[in-house]
């Protein structure tokens, strides 16, 4: 019975992240538009865009290889698997033991590895500039993420996300300096990983300021749809991650009743909405930074993560 419940939770979660991801992107765009006194597209515009792209004929460069065509599906799959393993509304995910937070970080790194390769496949200068800058950003964001994982794993005694969420819900979890540092670092990493302002601009079409968008410049139709979908999923993943570690309230525990699950979903939606609005407010109130300021920004996150785990190592002696 418990197995069925866990499997059901896992299944619902997989469907839920897929359904909600474009909506979150739509919400952020809408709020940003309203904040800049524009009407903005409707909330469900990302779904329409995806459907439109899916139905179109793909245009490939003459020398695009099989790697270019396979990558969108791989990126989508890896991001989806990662997003399905981060607790959203309940902790009792059936497959949560198949990858811990380090493995989830690495799964996202796999997706980026292939995307960066695809950016270089056609052999255009924009693809190269995008890939090159993307790996530079990743080479600092990933270690920062690992240090954050260290911090949280040392506090919760586990790097398994379901266990971490359960620990954070329990009365044992208290405020600590390390946790605060980890939160700041995680927010910085989330901004960089999702190519948001001030690191990158998802809405830009001024070529030299693009990173992520330059890398996927050659993609069209269904391939582009998969990549955009993966980007939405990744944004949802990072918001879920921050929510399940730092504001776990409302998460249904392992083997809870239907009422608890329903409550979990409602609170999750509320958290996503708040997160989306916060992103929009943050992005409208800050300017994009030069690309060579980004390493300092991310280096800060890396150092904060290192400092947080050093503090924990030192504290554990008593």
């Amino acid at each position: 019975m418990e197995l069925i419940a866990d499997l059901a939770v896992q299944g619902v979660q997989m469907a839920l992240v897929l359904l909600l991801a474009p909506l979150l992107t739509g919400l952020v765009r809408k709020v940003k538009a309203r904040l800049t006194r524009r009407q903005g597209p409707s909330l469900i515009q990302p779904y329409r865009d995806l459907l439109r792209l899916l139905k179109k004929e793909a245009v490939l460069a003459h020398n695009a290889s099989w790697l270019f065509r396979v990558t969108p599906y791989l990126v989508f799959a890896a991001t989806w698997v990662a997003a399905a393993l981060v607790p959203t509304f309940a902790t009792g995910l059936h497959f949560s033991w198949s990858a811990d937070l380090i493995a989830i970080t690495a799964l996202l790194a796999s997706a980026r590895f292939f995307l960066a390769l695809a950016g270089m496949d056609v052999g255009t200068s924009f693809g190269g500039i995008g890939s090159s800058r993307e790996v530079m950003i990743a080479s600092l964001a990933e270690p920062a993420m690992i240090m954050i994982t260290f911090t949280i794993a040392l506090i919760a005694g586990s790097s398994q996300l379901s266990t971490i969420a359960a620990f954070m819900l329990s009365p044992e979890a208290g405020l600590s300096v390390s946790l605060g540092l980890a939160l700041i670092a995680l927010v910085i990493v989330a901004i960089a990983e999702n190519a948001r302002i001030p690191v990158d601009n998802p809405a830009t079409h001024l070529e030299l300021t693009m990173v992520h968008e330059a890398m996927v410049l050659e993609y069209s139709s269904r391939h582009l749809a998969m990549i955009e979908f993966a980007a939405s999923l990744k944004l949802l993943l990072y918001l879920s991650l921050i929510a399940c570690i730092f504001v776990p309230w409302g998460l249904a525990g392992h083997g809870a009743g239907l009422g608890a699950y329903a409550f979990g979903i409602v609170t999750y939606l509320a958290k996503l909405a708040i997160g989306g609005v916060l992103i929009a407010v943050f992005e409208t109130s800050i300017a994009k930074m030069r690309v060579f300021r980004v390493p300092e920004f991310l280096g800060g996150a890396f150092m904060l993560g290192l400092l947080a785990s050093l503090l924990l190592f030192v504290v554990q002696s008593q």
Binding site: E57, V81, R222
Partner: protein, 668 residues
């Protein structure tokens, strides 16, 4: 019993070399030599596997070597594991060379040394006394030096050979002194006698320092790594694969055998030294690798990084061991051995791939390559698998060993010493940084070499390589995938070796449901490569099928978009140098004293603009250059002594004798 089974194929390897010498290294014997080596190495690997899984110890004494000592050999679980690494690497490299060796212009410079080199590496692993160990080690070094000089007409290779010979001699001397200290006053050269000798902490520290120099220089530990990126790429590609993938592992074996087995219980500061050296090696190695545009040199620098990762694992194991935490030591040691195995797989694979590129295009410089994915489809798939594996990305094998290392770091806060408390998280951060930079490095290596458009005529005309080379690459690629999705089997196979050295082992992994791996307890952390692999494969396939079925599968070819300005000239693509430029800007000034100088022609002038980038190896400048200068100065001064008359020489001898006698008199 097993030891004889191991020694017979090793003797066979030496005999093959002898036969190759007698045949004068004619090109026609190339295939038989490599074929025989492949079979003999496979036998070595099978014997090693039997010893590794059986966990028993088998010893023998042969009446060769020093008259009163004989040559002791011993095959235990640890030696078995390293015999698997040597045998497997040797067998696959020989298979590769059946095809690759045909392109060798001067086979008589490779064939006589090749099999004996494999045999010598096996003998290092099997040796059970200091004398046989050192002789095998030195033979291994000299034969690999001869192989490095196979293409000695290139100036660069001669310099590589010279630096390698100096470093190898220096390293062996350090090992010689280490064994001298190990045998102590009693002078027992057999390893059994050394295990029983008690030592003071000062002696143990001196031994550790000497082993770090001796084995560390062979493995490529920073700052003793300078010869490695010169020598490894200079050899023919299958030998490069053996040097990087296997010989560095033999050096690691030497370190493990002496430090974990012969010296006895370590102290925590020894662990700290190893950890810090490992962390520095990992981070510096990958940064150097990122700056290279020679494919083989990039791979060689990357070996330095992986050696660092292995030493981090070993340092953690020492830290846990010095505090009697067996579970942690077993986890860290397993992680290190797992990475030894993984690195031997993917580094050989990548060197084979670079050899294939070299055969097909005659180029090692990435700036002249590109677009090979269209012309060498099979090689490009195998090389891609190698790149994903070495970048520590799931679900392949490189990720598993790094994940295990991270797990070992996560249980280390309980260690009481302050030095460890501060150094372990820092080393963890360096490990995380080097893993991320490795991915960047291999995006560059693969993207510039195999993707994009050809940057030279040679790259345009490239053709796929022969079947032997391809099958060797695909065997290794397959093993990378298998070790990544079934890591539990590898961990269980390593258990006897781990148990014999640290006195404990990780929980049995193959009994865990769904073939997950669980280092400590499932509530702490677990990982399942198989499920991750299935999930990704299934969801990618379902997504692709559903879209092709329900939405659209139409496509057409067209010019690239490139924001409306596609250029037909391949020179407009990103190059290896420009790809690494952002990372050079971030780390370069600190690590390489990087300088960029732009020369712009004045307005109106249509001459070319130039960008000069200078990178310096600071370790070379600060550590080696002063030593070289010192030696030169001393040699110039002493040069005067070469041209004395016989009377003066006699006076000099007499004065020395008197001086020594006086010293002796004052001493007592």
């Amino acid at each position: 019993m097993l030891i004889e089974f191991a020694l017979i194929p090793v003797a066979g390897l030496l005999a093959v070399s002898l036969a190759a010498i007698l045949a004068g290294g004619r090109p026609s014997i190339s295939a038989p030599v490599y074929g025989a080596s492949a079979i003999l190495c496979a036998l070595v690997a099978i014997t090693g596997l039997a010893a590794m899984l059986g966990g028993g110890v088998s010893t023998t004494v042969l009446p060769v070597g020093l008259p009163w000592l004989g040559a002791h050999f011993r095959l235990d679980a640890l030696a078995g594991f390293f015999l698997v690494v040597v045998g497997l690497g040797g067998a696959v490299a020989s298979l590769y060379a059946i095809g690759y060796g045909r392109h060798e212009r001067e086979p008589w410079r490779v064939l006589p040394f090749y099999s004996a080199f494999l045999g010598a590496m096996s003998l290092v692993v099997l040796a059970d006394d200091a004398f046989s160990f050192l002789v095998s080690w030195e033979v291994m070094s000299l034969l690999s030096w001869a192989l490095v000089l196979a293409h000695h007409r290139e100036n660069e290779n001669r310099r590589a050979g010279y630096v390698y010979l100096m470093m190898a001699g220096f390293g062996t001397m350090a090992l010689l002194l280490a064994f001298g200290l190990l045998s102590g006053g009693s002078g027992g050269y057999a390893f059994d006698a050394m295990r029983e000798t008690a030592r003071t902490p000062a002696i143990a520290a001196a031994i550790l320092a000497l082993v770090l120099i001796g084995a560390g220089s062979k493995a490529g530990l920073v700052p003793l790594h300078v010869w490695l990126p010169l020598a490894h790429p200079a050899a023919p590609s299958h030998v490069s694969a053996l040097m990087s993938g296997v010989m560095t592992k033999v050096a690691i074996y030497g370190f493990i055998r002496i430090v974990f087995d012969l010296v006895g219980l370590p102290s925590w500061w020894a662990a700290m030294v190893v950890l810090v050296l490992g962390g520095a090696t990992a981070a510096l190695g990958v940064l150097y690798a990122l700056m290279q545009h020679d494919l083989k040199r990039l791979l060689a620098y990357h070996t330095v990084e992986n050696i660092g990762i292995i030493f981090i694992g070993l340092g953690l194991a020492l830290a846990f061991q010095s505090n009697h935490q067996t579970a942690g030591a077993a986890l860290a040691f397993t992680a290190a051995l797992f990475h030894v195995f993984n690195h031997s797989l993917f580094k050989s694979l990548l060197f084979f791939g670079s050899g294939a590129v070299l055969t097909a295009t005659g180029e090692r410089d990435m700036e002249h390559l590109g677009g090979l994915i269209h012309r060498m489809p099979a090689t490009s798939i195998a090389f891609l698998i190698g790149c994903v594996a070495i970048s520590a990305l799931p679900p392949l094998n490189g990720f598993v060993s790094e994940w295990l290392t991270f797990q070992a770091i996560l249980i280390s806060p309980e260690l009481p010493q302050w030095g460890l408390k501060l150094s372990i998280p820092t080393v963890g951060a360096l490990l995380a940084l080097s893993a991320a930079l490795a991915a960047a490095c291999f995006v560059k290596a693969y993207g510039i070499t195999f993707l994009g458009r050809p940057r030279s005529k040679a790259a345009e005309r490239a053709a796929e390589v022969d079947r032997f080379a391809l099958s060797a690459m695909f065997i290794l690629a397959g093993l990378c995938v298998l070790a990544g999705i079934f890591p539990g089997f590898v961990i269980d196979a390593l258990a006897p070796a781990v148990a014999s050295l640290v006195g404990g082992q990780m929980p049995t992994q193959t009994a865990v449901p769904w073939l997950s791996i669980v280092p400590i307890a499932e509530s702490r952390s677990s990982y399942n490569g198989l499920l991750v692999f299935i999930f990704i494969a299934a969801s990618a396939t379902i997504a692709a099928l559903a879209i092709h079925r329900l939405a659209s599968r139409a496509f057409r070819r067209s010019d690239p978009w490139d924001c409306g300005f596609p250029s037909a000239d391949p020179a407009t693509q990103y190059t290896a140098g420009s790809f690494a430029q952002p990372i050079r800007r971030v780390f370069g000034t600190l690590v390489f004293a990087a300088r960029e100088k732009v020369e712009m022609p004045p307005p109106g002038d249509t001459g070319p603009a130039r960008l000069h980038v200078t990178l310096r190896d600071l370790i070379w400048d600060w550590l080696y250059q002063p030593v070289a200068i010192g030696v030169t100065v001393a040699a110039t001064r002493l040069n005067a002594l070469q041209f004395l008359t016989i009377r003066r020489y006699l006076a000099l001898v007499f004065a020395t004798l008197v001086l020594l006698l006086m010293v002796l008199a004052l001493w007592s």
